[in-house]
């Protein structure tokens, strides 16, 4: 033993950055094509229990049945839960802090049984409530991307 305690701790820093190309599958693709080309939301229905999934997926988990029928759902719906996000954190898609505040919400579109995750235009908690009706605000230029083709959902005046 001929060394003293180290004068410092060495810490290695790295920005890990791994690109991915995630396939959307036939269901996800068809949904996004309809959103991009026709500003329409599609749901996919389980032939067994009748549940309408938005966003779409191939399998109804509880039934273990392939969803097989497309239905058009509304571009309006109900906020089932929300949270105004004020705290800072790293967005793992960019490695940078995500811009806050923003409102994260689960929206059940009219005619759907499951909820879509998206953002709300309003960030004042006093003007938000569970059960409020909201409508999608579409981007002018759409590319088949749920984040960007729908800018956010905004409140519908009763």
């Amino acid at each position: 033993m001929s060394l003293k305690a180290p004068p410092e701790l060495i810490v290695f820093q790295q920005m890990a950055d791994v690109p991915y190309n995630w396939s959307l599958g036939r269901e996800g693709s068809l949904f996004l094509i309809a959103l991009r080309d026709e500003k329409k939301f599609l749901g996919i229905k389980c032939p067994s229990c009748g549940k309408v999934y938005v966003p779409p997926r191939k399998v109804c988990g509880p039934c273990f049945t392939a969803n097989s029928q497309w239905v058009e759902v509304g571009d309006e719906g109900v906020v089932t839960a929300f949270s105004v996000v004020n705290y800072r954190f790293t967005d793992p898609a960019t490695g940078l802090p995500r811009e806050v505040p923003y409102t994260f919400a689960f929206v059940r579109l009219d005619g759907a049984d499951t909820k879509l995750c998206h953002k709300l235009a309003e960030t004042d908690p006093a003007r938000l409530k569970v059960g409020m009706r909201v409508k999608a605000v579409f981007a002018e230029q759409r590319t088949g991307n749920i984040e960007k083709d729908v800018i956010h959902f905004r409140a519908v005046q009763a």
Binding site: F12, Q14, A16, D17, V18, P19, Y20, N21, W22, S23, L24, G25, R26, G28, S29, R57, K58, V59, C60, G61, P62, F64, A66
Partner: protein, 380 residues
Amino acid sequence: MLDEVAIVGVGQTKYERRKIGETFADLVFEVTNKALEDAGITIRDIDNVVTVSNDFQDGRTISSMAVMDACGAFGKNVSTVEGDGTLGALYGLMRVLSGAFETTLVVAHCKCSEGDQDLIWNSAFDPVYYRRLGLEAVSASALQARRYMDKYGVTGEQCALVPVKNHRNARANPWAQEAMDLTVEEVMRSPVLASPLKMLDAAPLSDGACAVIFANRWKAGRMTTKPVWVRGVGHCADAYYLGDRDLAGVDSLTGAAKRAYGLAGIVDPRKEIDVVEVFEAFGYQELMWLEGLGFCDPGQGGVFTAGGNTLMDGPWPVNPSGGVLSAHPGLVAGLVRIAEACLQVRGDAGARQVDGVRTALAHGTNGLCGQGHCVWVLGG
């Protein structure tokens, strides 16, 4: 392990370079249904599920979350192994052996085309000491290949016999990705990736999924007339740092094989095993793994292979499916070896069937340069 747990169904996708039309969940749903159909049962007959996936390959922490509905796990006991598919299968087997479950579905998925393999494999190197050197799986395997060839005098031509044989075998396998006729000269002339490894020494990148269903004796008897019994299984890990190991050695494979053979009551694998499916991501690995499995002495893998012993019509056909060199869907590849060994024992391997298979061996590896291994012995 005599007639305790059997494989009663298997399912595979076609392995392809880019399955862009399908999500992970779609692939899992496909093979789950195929395996259920193969076993002649429905999802209601399955009482628990083990999924296999890798968070780096999927670009997703908790990569199994994406497939919970597609593997039929809703309402069932389910868990996830991150490692080669042979290890997921082992956990599925344990759950049946414990008496807690009767029928386990094991399903593995991976789409090597969706991520960047070099970045993903670089992340397996220690971030403190070695990651900055930029090592990845090809360079690391090249260090192993060089050491193996130098230590024992194995030649590049002997290693090249493996891709020649396996791509030729793949012509009889409808699921394989790269079936072709090659010559040793073509392998030797292919571009060098990292010496001594050349393009045609290496496995392609594949997307795919595989499912295997295990059942206890009672259930197996009711499900199928052709149960394939698990006779023995063993797994083992070597030291992590590549510099701590003699990379030409196969200590952990010897350990895994010893355990599997012990459980299966196998004294001499050369006399008792009829067909072998190994996880060879590079040609040289098949030679090394045959040494570790006891089919030849250390350093003799090249001579053994050059002697025609591992050809389809040889005494110990190795990788009649075409092996991992013909389709490499990442950590699915080990589970594919089990599925293929199972089909061989059943006599259901179609054009790639080896005559008179009573006992088959399946092998998977985990980590870099065969740090970990898992060995299965299956019998009719």
